[in-house]
C-alpha cells in the first residue's frame, strides 16, 4: 500500500502541477499546447543547473557531511531555475499569440518541436550522448528524504504515516502540492484571479472595465510556463533519476488531458491527476503491486496486458469527453486572439 501511494504520487504530482499550468494559460484565453515542450525545456534546464553546480562543487561539502537540509535547498534552487527558464521559454508563445495574434495551436506546436530539438542539440554537444545526467551521484542519494535523516536506524520503522509520506520522498512533491493550493486560491479568491479568468471568458467586457487583456494573458501564459518548466524538472528528478533526454514521455499531453478531464477546475484536476497517476503507476508496476498485503498479486493474476493499463488514461479521457462535451465548460474566449477593434 505504501508503495502504491508513493508511486502514484510520483506520477500524479507533476501531472497535477502541469495541468494547473494549462489552466492558467487557458483561463486567460491562450491555448497552451506547448506544455510538453516547456516541460522538456524545464527538465533540461534543471538537470543542467544541477550538473553545473555539482561540477563547481558548491554543495559537495554539504553532501559529504550528510547535511540534507542544504541539499533540499539545492533542490529548491534547481526548481526555481527551471521555473524561470520555463517562463522565459513560454514568452515565445505569448509573444506570438498576444502581440502577433498568431494561431495558438501552431505556435504551441512550434514550441513542442523546438524544445526537444534545442535540448538534444545542446545535450549532444555537452555530454556527447543523448542523455544529460548528474555530474556525480544519483537523485536518490542527493535529494531524496530518507528516514536516516531523522535519526532512524536501518531496521527501525517510522510507522505508516512516516514511511508513506516522509521516508523515501522528495521535497519537490510537497512544494508542488503547496504551490497548487496557493495558486488555486489565487485564481479563485483574489482580484487578480478574477481578472485573469474574465480575460478568458469575455475579454471585450474585461477591457471595457479597464483591465489590460494583453497583460493578463501574458501573466497567465508566463505563470503557465513557470509551472510547466518546474513540473518538467520535478518529473525528471523523481521519475528519471534527474536526467534529461529531450523527452517526457507525453506527460505534457497527458496533463492537457487531465486539465480537460478536470473541466478546467483545480479541485477536479487534483482528483483527475491522482486517477491518472494511479493508472500510470499500475501500468509501470502492476506485477509487483500487492494491494492488501496478503502476498497475492491480484493485478498480475488478472492477466491484463500492461499496454492496456498504459492506454487506459487516454481512452478514458476520450470517452469522458464524449459523454461530457455538452456540459464541458472550456473558457469561452480560449484560442481567439484578442483584437481591441472587434465587436
Amino acid at each position: 500500500m505504501t508503495f502504491l501511494i508513493q508511486q502514484t504520487m510520483l506520477y500524479a504530482i507533476p501531472l497535477m502541477i502541469v495541468a494547473l499550468a494549462g489552466v492558467f494559460a487557458e483561463r486567460s484565453g491562450i491555448i497552451n499546447l506547448a506544455l510538453e515542450g516547456i516541460m522538456i525545456f524545464g527538465a533540461f534546464i534543471g538537470v543542467l543547473f544541477v550538473n553545473l553546480v555539482q561540477q563547481a562543487g558548491i554543495f559537495n561539502a554539504a553532501y559529504e557531511a550528510g547535511n540534507w537540509i542544504a541539499l533540499q535547498g539545492f533542490e529548491l534552487l534547481a526548481m526555481l531555475v527551471s521555473a524561470i527558464m520555463g517562463a522565459v521559454f513560454s514568452l515565445l508563445l505569448s509573444f506570438a499569440s498576444v502581440n502577433l495574434k498568431a494561431d495558438q495551436t501552431i505556435g504551441g506546436t512550434a514550441l513542442n518541436l523546438m524544445a526537444p530539438a534545442l535540448v538534444l542539440f545542446f545535450i549532444r554537444i555537452i555530454a556527447s550522448q543523448n542523455t544529460l545526467q548528474m555530474a556525480t551521484g544519483n537523485a536518490a542519494g542527493w535529494f531524496m528524504i530518507q528516514k536516516s535523516d531523522f535519526g532512524y536506524g536501518r531496521n527501525e520503522e517510522m510507522g505508516f504515516f512516516g514511511s508513506t509520506f516522509i521516508d523515501r520522498t522528495y521535497l519537490a512533491t510537497y512544494v508542488c502540492i503547496l504551490l497548487f493550493i496557493i495558486l488555486s486560491v489565487l485564481l479563485y479568491k483574489t482580484r487578480f484571479g478574477l481578472r485573469l479568468r474574465s480575460c478568458g471568458e469575455n475579454p471585450q467586457a474585461a477591457d471595457s472595465l479597464g483591465i489590460n487583456v494583453y497583460k493578463m494573458r501574458y501573466a497567465g501564459t508566463t505563470i503557465s510556463g513557470a509551472l510547466a518548466g518546474m513540473g518538467g524538472f520535478v518529473y525528471a528528478l523523481t521519475t528519471a533519476n534527474c536526467s534529461a533526454n529531450g523527452d517526457v514521455a507525453g506527460f505534457g499531453f497527458l496533463a492537457l488531458a487531465v486539465m480537460i478531464f478536470g473541466n478546467w477546475k483545480p479541485l477536479n484536476i487534483a482528483g483527475a491527476s491522482l486517477l491518472f497517476g494511479l493508472f500510470k503507476c499500475v501500468a509501470a508496476a502492476y506485477t509487483s503491486i500487492d494491494i492488501n498485503g496478503d502476498g497475492v498479486f491480484l493485478l498480475a493474476e488478472l492477466g491484463i496486458s500492461a499496454h492496456f493499463y498504459r492506454l487506459l488514461p487516454y481512452l478514458i479521457t476520450l470517452v469522458v469527453l464524449a459523454f461530457t462535451s455538452k456540459r464541458s465548460r472550456a473558457p469561452k474566449a480560449e484560442g481567439i486572439p484578442y483584437d481591441k477593434g472587434q465587436r
Binding site: 501552431i106 513542442n112 549532444r124 499531453f253 499496454h307 469527453l321 462535451s325
Partner: protein, 426 residues
C-alpha cells in the same frame, strides 16, 4: 513589363511562396546563429568548425565529404540526392495529410497515430501473407492498401467525435495518437513479426524484404546509384497531384473546403457538414497511412515496435511541411523535399563536424513558429481587402464567392473550426 510583374506580385500564390521562402531563410539563419553561439561559448569547437557547420547547413545536400587536406568539398552527390528523395516520400504524404485537413478547417495533429496504425497493418500484411502462395507484387498492393485503410479508419475517430459530439479535433487527435502508440506496441509485443534472427536488434520488426516484398525501384537507382531511393517517391508525387485535383477541381473538394471555411454556412447551403468532416479526416488518415506504407514497404527500413513512449517524428513533421506549403498539395511536394534535404544536411553535419543533426529540427521548429503568424498576417491582409470590397459592393461579393455571412458576436472570424459557439466544445 513592370505591370506584369506587379500583377504577379499581387497574386496570392506569389505572396505565399515569398513568405515561405522568407521563413526558410530566417529559419536557416537562426540555425546558423545557434551554431555560432555554441561555437563561441565552447572553446573545444573553434571557429573553423563553426564556418564548416554553417556552410554545410546551407549546402549540405551537395557535400561530397572531405577532400585532400581535410577541406570540405562540394559537388553533385547522387547518394545524398537519392536519400533526400527517399526520405521525402513519407514527408510528402504526411504533409498532404495535414494540408488536406487544414484546407477543410481541421488541424490534424493526429498524423503520428495514423502513421503508426498504417505502419502496423502494412507490416502485418506484408510479412503475414506468405509470398510462396501469393505473388510478391500482389502482397505489396494489399499491404499498401491495408496501410491506407488502417490510417483512414484511425483518422475517422477524431472526425466522428468532432462531427457528432463536437469535441475539439486537436484533443481527440492527441488522445488517439497515444492510444495508437500503445496499441501498436501491444500488437507487436510477442508477435511472430519480431526480428529474432539478428540478436543485436531488440524490439525491431523484420524488414519487409524478409518476405520478399519491396517497392520497385522504377529506374531511379540508375540515376541515383547506392542511395535508398525507390519508386515510392513517384507514387507520392502522383498522390499529391491527385489530391490537388480532388481539392480544386471536384465538387467533393469544394464541399470539403466550404465546410472548412464555415461549417454552419456550409450546412445552410445544403452541404452535409458532418459527413464531410468525417470524410476529410478519413482522407487525411489514409494519406498518413500511405506515408507509413511506402516508408516501410521499401524493404530497407526497420520498425522499432516498442514505441509506446514516443510518437514517430515523421507524423509531426507533416505539420511543418503543410505549413511551409501553405496547404497547397503541389507545394507539399517541394516542402517535403526541402524538409528531407534538411534531414540529409543534419546527417552531413553530424558526420563531418562536432555538431549534430538536431540543428535541422531547430530550423524546422523556427519555420513552424514563423508560419504561425505569417498566416495570421496574411489573414489580416486579405481581411482588410475584403472589408473594402464589401463596402463598395455592399456584400454581394461575399454571396457570389460563397463566403460566410458576417459572424455573430460569439464567433470570431475566420471560423477555422477550433472555436465554434465557444463553450460548447471541449
Amino acid at each position: 513589363m513592370s505591370g506584369k510583374l506587379s500583377k504577379l506580385w499581387r497574386k496570392d500564390g506569389t505572396k505565399s511562396v515569398v513568405s515561405s521562402l522568407i521563413s526558410i531563410l530566417i529559419g536557416l539563419t537562426v540555425g546558423a546563429v545557434i551554431i555560432l553561439i555554441m561555437g563561441l561559448a565552447n572553446s573545444n569547437l573553434g571557429l573553423r568548425s563553426v564556418w564548416e557547420a554553417i556552410r554545410l547547413e546551407f549546402l549540405g545536400l551537395f557535400s561530397t565529404g572531405r577532400g585532400a587536406g581535410g577541406v570540405l568539398t562540394f559537388g553533385f552527390n547522387p547518394v545524398n540526392m537519392g536519400d533526400m528523395l527517399f526520405r521525402a516520400t513519407p514527408l510528402i504524404l504526411t504533409g498532404l495529410s495535414v494540408a488536406v485537413a487544414y484546407k477543410t478547417g481541421l488541424f490534424n495533429i493526429g498524423a503520428p497515430g495514423q502513421y503508426l496504425m498504417g505502419t502496423a497493418f502494412t507490416l502485418m500484411l506484408a510479412l503475414g501473407i506468405p509470398t510462396e502462395t501469393v505473388p510478391a507484387p500482389v502482397v505489396w498492393v494489399i499491404a499498401f492498401l491495408g496501410g491506407i485503410l488502417a490510417g483512414a479508419l484511425w483518422g475517422c475517430i477524431p472526425g466522428l467525435v468532432k462531427a457528432f459530439l463536437n469535441i475539439n479535433e486537436v484533443l481527440a487527435c492527441i488522445m488517439t495518437n497515444w492510444i495508437a502508440a500503445n496499441v501498436v506496441t501491444w500488437i507487436f509485443d510477442g508477435s511472430v513479426f519480431r526480428n529474432t534472427v539478428e540478436n543485436t536488434k531488440s524490439a525491431y520488426i523484420y524488414m519487409t524484404s524478409h518476405n520478399g516484398v519491396q517497392t520497385a525501384k522504377m529506374g531511379l537507382d540508375v540515376i541515383f546509384p547506392n542511395s535508398q531511393v525507390n519508386g515510392g517517391i513517384l507514387i507520392a508525387i502522383v498522390i499529391a497531384i491527385l489530391m490537388y485535383i480532388l481539392m480544386n477541381k471536384t465538387t467533393l473538394g469544394y464541399q470539403l473546403k466550404a465546410c472548412g471555411s464555415n461549417r454552419h454556412a456550409a450546412r445552410y447551403a445544403g452541404i452535409a457538414d458532418k459527413r464531410n468532416i468525417v470524410l476529410s479526416m478519413a482522407i487525411a488518415g489514409g494519406l498518413s497511412g500511405a506515408a507509413a506504407a511506402l516508408y516501410y514497404l521499401s524493404g530497407n527500413t526497420e520498425f522499432f515496435w516498442n514505441t509506446y513512449q514516443s510518437l514517430p517524428a515523421t507524423g509531426f513533421d507533416g505539420i511543418p511541411v503543410a505549413l511551409l506549403a501553405v496547404s497547397n498539395p503541389i507545394g507539399v511536394i517541394f516542402a517535403g523535399c526541402f524538409m528531407s534535404m534538411l534531414d540529409v544536411v543534419g546527417q552531413q553535419i553530424t558526420n563531418l563536424t562536432p555538431y549534430n543533426e538536431y540543428i535541422s529540427d531547430v530550423i524546422v521548429a523556427t519555420i513552424v513558429y514563423l508560419s504561425a503568424f505569417s498566416l495570421a498576417i496574411k489573414m489580416l491582409l486579405t481581411g482588410r481587402r475584403k472589408k473594402k470590397l464589401s463596402e463598395t459592393a455592399a456584400g454581394t461579393e461575399r454571396i457570389l464567392t460563397g463566403e460566410a455571412p458576417p459572424p455573430d458576436e460569439t464567433t470570431a472570424p475566420p471560423d477555422r473550426g477550433t472555436v465554434e459557439k465557444g463553450g460548447d466544445e471541449a
